[in-house]
């Protein structure tokens, strides 16, 4: 467990796999794998390239959020979904969609030239408010993050309640239903360059902030009292990290919808062979999350072509399967 892989070897392997995935992403089209593609083809440039980049970025955001959640709550099962933050983000997106569908054409005229941007930023903002609120609610219900089981149970309860509220909203505003449905399924099909740029702008500062606080997370691993005795302040740092966690989840959900298990699985894959300091773990989890979602996206596009499988379904099946297998490997520990 403590044996470390050489950082360069790990980095090179993941980079190579990512490049292969991106290459396949440029090949995977509406008629299956298209071996005779050219970069000059507008379909490759305007559709396949942004969605491949988008899938990687959304996965990286989820991987980072997962690693942060697991470190922050000292719980290997913590994940944006189990803490309720993804459901909160989903509710935020649903509320935005409902308001727009209800307001109908009143909102859209006059802002057409900045519409994609306003729309993306607005959706992400609503998702962030939802995700942030959900994490707060979970923490409140669990009376802090000290008790793992209580935290996870509260997260599940908050997730279910917010999911039900989303459904309620959809029943109340049926016009928003078709759009919302594709969000709930999680899909990268509609990701364009504005989404890619937005996700990149969120990912880079989030990684920077997370790295700056990695030492704190390492201290926390030894227990809160030890961390405090090492002179690490608890209050502000924790809130900043919860905010980064909520922002990463929200940005990903607002662009690609609900994509399960990537945030949970990516850190587990990274940690599978070695215990790592958080500075390394966070960066690797982001890279691994990106790789996983990029690969899942290629698979989702190619396996049923010309029809497309929403990638969220695929990650749920594959990620769930992986976790079950891990649980089976370590039955005595009870955690993967």
């Amino acid at each position: 467990m403590t044996q470390r892989t050489h950082p360069w070897r790990w980095g090179t392997a993941v980079l190579l796999l990512t490049v292969v995935c991106a290459w396949l992403g440029l090949m995977a089209g509406s008629e299956g794998l298209d071996t005779d593609w050219r970069w000059s083809d507008p379909i490759v440039q305007d559709i396949r390239w942004p969605r491949t980049l988008g899938a990687w970025l959304a996965g990286a955001l989820l991987g980072l959020a997962g690693a942060l959640a697991q470190g922050l709550f000292r719980n290997p099962l913590a994940d944006p979904y189990l803490l309720g933050s993804a459901s909160g983000a989903g509710l935020g997106v649903a509320a935005a969609l409902a308001v727009v569908s209800w307001g109908g054409a009143v909102i859209s005229p006059g802002v057409s030239w900045l519409q994609p941007w306003v729309w993306r930023l607005g959706l992400t903002g609503c998702a962030f408010v939802g995700a942030w609120g959900a994490v707060l609610l979970t923490l409140l219900l669990a009376r802090g993050a000290h008790h793992s089981l209580r935290l996870l149970l509260s997260g599940v309860v908050v997730g279910v309640v917010l999911g039900a509220l989303t459904s309620l909203l959809m029943v109340a505003v049926p016009q928003a239903w078709p759009v919302m449905q594709s969000f709930l399924l999680g899909s990268t099909a509609m990701i364009g360059m504005p989404s890619v740029v937005l996700m990149a702008w969120v990912l880079l500062p989030s990684i920077a902030v997370a790295l700056a606080m990695a030492r704190w997370l390492d201290g926390l691993r030894l227990g809160e009292d030890t961390a405090r005795s090492l002179g690490l302040s608890m209050g502000l740092t924790r809130w900043v990290l919860v905010a980064v966690l909520a922002l990463c989840t929200a940005t990903s959900v607002a662009q690609a919808g609900l994509i399960a298990f990537v945030g949970l699985v990516a850190p587990h894959v990274v940690r599978a062979r070695s215990a790592l300091p958080h500075a390394v773990l966070l960066v690797r989890s982001a890279a691994m999350g990106g790789l996983l979602l990029c690969a899942a996206d290629v698979l989702a596009r190619a396996c049923m072509a010309p029809r497309e499988l929403p990638v969220g379904i695929l990650t749920a099946v594959l990620g769930g399967g992986y976790l079950l297998w891990r649980l089976h490997q370590h039955p005595q520990r009870g955690t993967p």
Binding site: I43, P109, Q115, W119, P174, V179, S182, M190, G192, P194
Partner: protein, 308 residues
């Protein structure tokens, strides 16, 4: 150096002014030309649809829109449709691009459409706008909006005398509506109707285009306007409203008898239930040029239910 620059500028001044005037003149003329251009029309988002040329490669993503384009005689300009479009038969041969929320963007772009007609709430819409593909969002909810959509489409399609073309289609709808009205049995006058538009208890309310047809035929809809165009109602509500006539799709998963309490309904007991075939259902639930045909189907249903 400085002087020569000043001289250049000085010398250029009258010419510069002339250019500005010419430019403004062009802009002004352009504005007039723009305003007078036949292909300027707004869609349901309120966006101006300004196409340089009449579209020749059209993709539709709602069945009613494909039907409207074809009714206006431009069926040969369609290059792709959604999965559900099936009328007229010629659209069946066109590439199918997907359903409500799984349209294949790539397959659509590959068709190189010069106009995509779709619903206002399609998730695809902002993506197509970003890709620079001309889109027109049309989502008629009422008969008046269907008529307006036909007029707008006729203009955008660049038809000669667009108003007359759209009016011709609409007159046909009206003629069928009159025919249906005349065919209504006298006993059906004022009878109450429950129209189930979708399985899962989605009813057609008074404010929907189906509700408008029901009132136009002299029937009374049991679903009042304030419940919205297509509300999901509880089975108990239907029981309590005791409709004289029930119209619904044949494909409902649950047989009528198995719906709790429905055997108590007078309409069920007296056989005044019309179950439409899927093809008839398509005619009834699509807000397009076959509205008149839908009215005729309803009238036939009433004739069957109140046999002389």
């Amino acid at each position: 150096m400085a002087r020569s620059q000043a001289g250049l500028l000085g010398g250029a001044k009258p010419r510069f002014l002339a250019r500005v005037t010419a430019l403004l003149g062009c802009l002004f003329l352009g504005q007039i030309a723009y305003a007078a251009s036949p292909t300027v029309v707004r869609d349901d988002r309120g966006e101006v649809i300004a196409l340089a040329n009449a579209p020749q490669r059209i993709v539709t993503l709602m069945p009613a829109l494909a039907e409207s384009v074809c009714a206006l005689g431009a069926c040969n300009r369609l290059v792709g449709t959604d999965r559900f479009a099936n009328w007229p038969a010629s659209v069946l041969a066109l590439p199918k691009l997907g359903g409500m929320d799984d349209v294949s963007l790539e397959a659509l772009v590959r068709l190189k459409p010069d106009l995509v007609l779709l619903g206002r709430s399609a998730r695809l819409l902002p993506r197509l706008v970003a890709l620079g593909i001309p889109v027109m969002a049309l989502e008629p909810q009422t008969q008046a909006q269907v008529q307006l959509s036909l007029q707008r489409l006729a203009v955008v399609l660049g038809l000669p005398e667009p108003d007359r073309q759209a009016a011709k289609v609409w007159q046909q709808v009206q003629a069928q509506l009159d025919q249906a009205r005349a065919a209504m049995p006298p006993q059906a006058k004022g009878a109450s109707v429950y129209f189930e538009a979708g399985s899962g208890g989605y009813a057609a309310g008074e404010s929907s285009f189906i509700g408008e047809l029901i009132s136009a035929l002299g029937l009374r809809n049991v679903v009042p306007a304030h419940l919205g165009p297509f509300p999901q109602l509880s089975p108990e509500w239907v029981l309590r409203s005791q409709p004289d006539l029930i119209m619904m799709g044949q494909a409902s998963l649950d047989p009528l008898q198995r719906r709790p309490g429905w055997s108590q309904l007078a309409a069920v007991q007296q056989g005044r239930v019309c179950q439409f075939t899927p093809e008839q259902g398509d005619v009834l639930v699509r807000p397009g040029p076959r509205l008149g045909e839908a009215a005729l189907l309803m009238a036939q249903c009433a004739q069957r239910s109140w046999k002389p």
